[in-house]
Amino acid sequence: MQERDALLKKKVQDSVEQIPSDQLLLLDPIIEKYQGSMSYLIPALKEAQETFGYLPMEVQRKLAKGLNIPAPHIYGVVTFYSFFTVTPRGRHTIRLCLGTACYVKGAKDMLQIIVKEVGINVGETSKDGRFTLEAVRCLGACGLAPVMMIGEDTHGNIIPSATLGILEGYQ
């Protein structure tokens, strides 16, 4: 159980790779478009995320400077909306429930399979950019335990050995 608690506390890792500064130039048109008004922060962030896939520190700081909005404020907004992410994400986010019901009914084994076969642990993104794995507390569907969400889809009553088969459906 201690191990599980540790997994549940793990957040998606901070990006290690720096975005090269010439790529940051891609932000210039966005800054130009939204300059001068604090109210357009969210559209600006959305476009920036569409450009880079995520909003790492360099991107947020450059937007802060360009839009003249304090960096802590931008970070506050980014972390408020689950839509935004500060780390690179796979195309599909797996949210594996490690709530007590799911854990005892096989989520533990599912996790092992994912770690072994997909090659990612909680908080990590696969090299091919396909999956990001997150551990979540009870999803409120204990009747369907064990439960796993992939993107918006909920999968329940999973037999651990079927895990990989389910993932096959997400390329």
């Binding site: 520190m57 304090p70 802590p72 931008i74 506050g76 408020f80 909306y81 500060v86």
Partner: protein, 879 residues
Amino acid sequence: MVTLTIDGVKVAVKKGSSILEAAQQAGVRIPTLCHDKRLIPYGSCRLCIVEVTARGRTRTMPACFNPARDGMEVATNTPKLRDARRLQLMLLLRSHPLLCPSCDAGGDCQLQNLVFDYEVPELSFGRQSRYFHTDNDSNFIRFNMNLCIRCGMCVRICEEVQGQSELSFVGRGIESEVSTDFDRPLDCEFCGQCASICPVGAISSKWLVGTGRRFELQNTSTVCAFCSLGCSLTLGEKDGKTVYVTSSEDSANEGNLCVKGRYGWPFAYSESRLTKPLVRKNGSLVETTWDEAIQTVAEKFGAIKKSSGPDSLAALGSQRLTNEEAFVFNRLVRTVFGTNNLDHAGGYAYRSVTDGLAPMLGYAASTNQIREIRDAKAVLLLGADLTETHPIAKNEINLASARKKAKVIVVDSIRTKLSYREGFFLSVPPGSEDLIVNSMLKFIIDGGLLDRASVDLRSEGFEELLASLKDYTPENVAAVLGLDANLIKAAATAYAKAETGVIILSEGLNRYHDNSPLSKAAVNLALVTGHIGKESCGVYVFGEKANAQGALDMGLTPELLPGYHSVRDEAARTKFEALWNGQIPASPGMSAQDIFKGAENGSVKGLYVVGENPVDTYPNRQQVENALGKLDFLVVQDMFLSSTANRADVVLPVSAPYEKTGTFTSSERRIQKLNPSSKPIQGKPDLEIFMSLAAGMGKPELSYAGYSEVMSEIAGVVPMYSGVSYEKIGDKGLVWPCLDIEDSGTPILYEGGFPIGKARLAAAKPIGTVSRSSGSFKLIPCVLKFHSGSFSEWSPSLMEVCPPGFAEMSRVDMTDLGLNDGDTIKIIGNNGQAISLKANESRRALQGMVLVPYHFSKNKLNSFTDWGSTEIVIQVEKA
């Protein structure tokens, strides 16, 4: 006014007041956990709920953001309310770790106090642990977000009041916490406002960690000794040592402090403080006794006076002397030394600004109170980078801008932080702000935007002014400065049409040319638009150091005696001679600039420098060094062995401001009392030294029983202080003019008219030209909020947060010179002087300008400056 009843007490309050404010006025205490009078009500804790009965209906509502209305009956402490509050406190405790025994805030924690007051029992539900970030890496301040109750006051004060927005709520829901972006350590103003407002121990001062808790400190209130705003300080001592500085929310500054006031005090404990007098023997300074030191000074000055006449002596005082000390110093120099060769650094900086004001309006000082700025609808800043020079006044502009939608008009050669507020930014070459003001004035008059009544009934000289403005059309001035004329027009319109408008000038050692054309232009503008003699209007001049205003009031000048009486005025002189029991020369003495010239050419032989460091701060370092080298005898009175003290023949150590009594007069004319902490005095108070020196020079009658006796003498001869006494000053200070015992001070000048009859508009000087040289740069010696003159170099805490810094340059200039952040540049002056330092790209620097802070003696920035020059042309090379 609305009248309501709170817990049976009837109270009448201003319309728009909240129920909470009404209760405070009625003396009824309502608990709050997310409210502070400096902030916009937030309404998150709901502890302030009260029962309100109006028109036969009783409802429960938070008191902090609901307005008081006529006829309301408010109950604040019914059993039902107490139960509700108790439950709220229990919910807070559910996730608040009960670390009270080891928490810094223990004993002075608002949550703890309320839990006690409301007798909160054992929780009937399980406690919940959550884990949040802690930060021990920031300067001065530490964060432990596990203790946070999410009142949001830190985030709000940082944004609403400081205008810094360094903190934000990050994350969502129960995971949210207060942090910076990516949880980095603070990189902000370090004002400590967040720590001081936190109701619990989540943000606190590092100095207290393991030292003491707030509730057990012994408190003394005194006045900040750095800038001229006169914020009041509460020094908290543990075991006889100051460990914590804060400010009372009842003070004029409402508890706000900047980094210098709150965290700059450790200079008083610096190892470098001088404790014993030093005398030069065989070429080096050695410790000696007070008796020997005073005797040496008295004999040597006496001998010079005898052999070369009294005018071969000269003295420089300081804006850091108290009023009492400045007054007695004045007496010492004029009647014991027998010379009028007396000045101080403010004599060429601050004075040139106030000199514009006195002949036009009557008084040489700011017209209004600092706290009125927040209600102004237009703010015109003339070369006033308040974020750096006077941080607490900057807060007022944030408030005016955000809450009153004031237009902020910045005229400066630096792209200051306030220039990003809603309004206008007009960039000018250093020292040309007056051109903009004159053209605004011209446009206002031509466009009929003036206040006729104010011009016709309250002032004279309008025709001459109008004629002198002939060439100052916005188009002309715009062409001279390379600006858009429409910008000048828009700024002029905004200021003229605003219902209330303030003009602010600040002054420091970084400006040493004659600034009176600028202050005259500012006064003209205020008079012509009728923005004077009313609340939230007027002209403010902010001097550099704590007693900038007092030093002038007390006559630390070559020709003005205390109270602005000229030495040429025989009647005044006679009065002072009788009072001071000695002769005063009838002709004005030498100014600071002349004193150094005099020393160079041998006419000044003995110099007494009290509290200043001319080698590092006066213009033209080469001349200063040369002049000091030629003196027969130099005495320096200081807390530290400054570059100037190092060259002295005798050094007399003085006590720190926190160890002293006396008064300072702030930039809003507020006379406030200093109170010593219990800490033993090192060195001697300046007053005591002046008295022993006078006795040594054969004038033992120059003697006072204490500071308050000096103040009564001041009241007798300085008209604006005539009703001032220590009892009346009290805790809150007294704003001059205070004319008699009945007078409780005059916060707003000229409400009922001008003491000189009608105000006198002043003609503008001819427009002149502005050099726009290419291929070279202009050096702007700038101020940083972490420092004050060269004095703050002795504060280890301020040096830690802001070490000798960088030159700031624009991005374009950096790219042109092939520079990256952190590269070293060489700055070469027209006089051949050169220094090297690192450069950083900065938005503050406009193209062609190089900003270098002038606080650091190691940079020797005054090698490039000269008396009277407005701009400093330099070459910049990559080193």
